[in-house]
């Protein structure tokens, strides 16, 4: 993920507000991966996540003229993505939870392929598996704080939570992740032996 320079972001935001194609494409390109990551952490389904990202981007860019710049553009956009994903999830909760289990079982099946070393793709599998064992909210907090590099306050603003609640959940998620990853890596080592 390319880290956004604030000045650069403002420049392209200004261009996009004026309807400049380059500005619009830059903003889409800069934030689509993280928006997609947030959506997939909530919905656990590629098709639904794509639909949510598309909806959220269209909503956000339709209201771009009303963006008052009190917060960062990314914070505003991720909040729209988060709310759209929650609405989508609440419309079909049964399907999503079934997919949670499906994702986990697929990942577990993939991990049984006796690996000699843990390459990047394999590490991603373990991280995804450990993340999938967290609560949905905790997963999003970890994504926003560690991957999107949002501060505690910004994470709280995106999710509509107080900073203290974000801190507490982040601590809990970190502990669970540490335990989960340790367990997964131990199992993997045992499989190799």
């Amino acid at each position: 993920m390319a880290k956004q320079e604030p000045d650069n972001e403002d420049h392209y935001l200004e261009l996009a507000t004026r309807g400049n194609r380059e500005g619009l494409e830059y903003l889409v390109g800069a934030y689509r991966s993280l928006a997609y990551t947030i959506a997939i952490k909530i919905l656990c389904n590629r098709e639904d996540a794509e639909e949510v990202v598309q909806d959220a981007f269209l909503k956000a860019f339709a209201a771009l003229a009303n963006f008052n710049r009190a917060a960062k553009f990314s914070t505003w956009l991720y909040r729209i993505v988060y709310n759209t994903a929650l609405t989508k999830r609440s419309s079909r909760p049964a399907a999503s939870s079934a997919l949670d289990e499906f994702t986990e079982s697929m990942l577990m099946a993939d991990n049984k392929d006796g690996l000699a070393t843990l390459h990047r793709a394999d590490r991603k599998k373990f991280v995804d598996l450990a993340l999938s064992r967290l609560r949905q909210e905790d997963r999003v907090i970890v994504t926003l704080h560690y991957i999107a590099e949002k501060s505690i306050a910004e994470t709280g603003a995106i999710m509509g939570l107080k900073s203290s609640a974000v801190k507490m959940r982040l601590l809990r998620a970190r502990k669970q992740l540490e335990t989960g990853l340790e367990q997964l890596l131990t199992n993997e080592l045992n499989d190799i032996r």
Partner: protein
């Protein structure tokens, strides 16, 4: 690997591997849709803005004529209770509309 996973290592691991990339087709489609819909909105907004004043004049005339009718008929004198009830209903309706707009507005 058996070592305790430290916080920094965890941060790095998540940062390095936690990002999910959408497919190339989806990314291209998304960029195209955003640009197309944004331009469509801008051009249609500009097109309708030219005729905005006509609508404003019509609405002003309608409201003015209705107000004039109310003044002429003077319903407050004949049916004060009914007038207060209708006034209250209109006020409550406006409050509900504002509340719904605020709730459904983008953050």
């Amino acid at each position: 690997m058996k070592k305790q996973i430290q916080e920094n290592t965890l941060k790095l691991l998540i940062k390095e591997t936690g990002l999910d990339e959408p497919s190339v087709e989806f990314s291209q489609r998304l960029a195209h849709q955003v640009v197309t819909s944004y331009h469509f909105r801008r051009t249609s907004a500009a097109r309708y803005k030219k005729h905005e004043w006509v609508g404003k004049v019509i609405i002003f005339l309608l409201i003015a004529l209705n107000g004039l009718m109310l003044v002429k008929l003077n319903p407050f004198q004949t049916q004060p209770v009914l007038c207060w009830s209708i006034g209250g209903f209109i006020l409550a309706f406006c409050c509900v509309v504002v509340w719904i707009k605020k709730r459904t507005a983008l953050p």
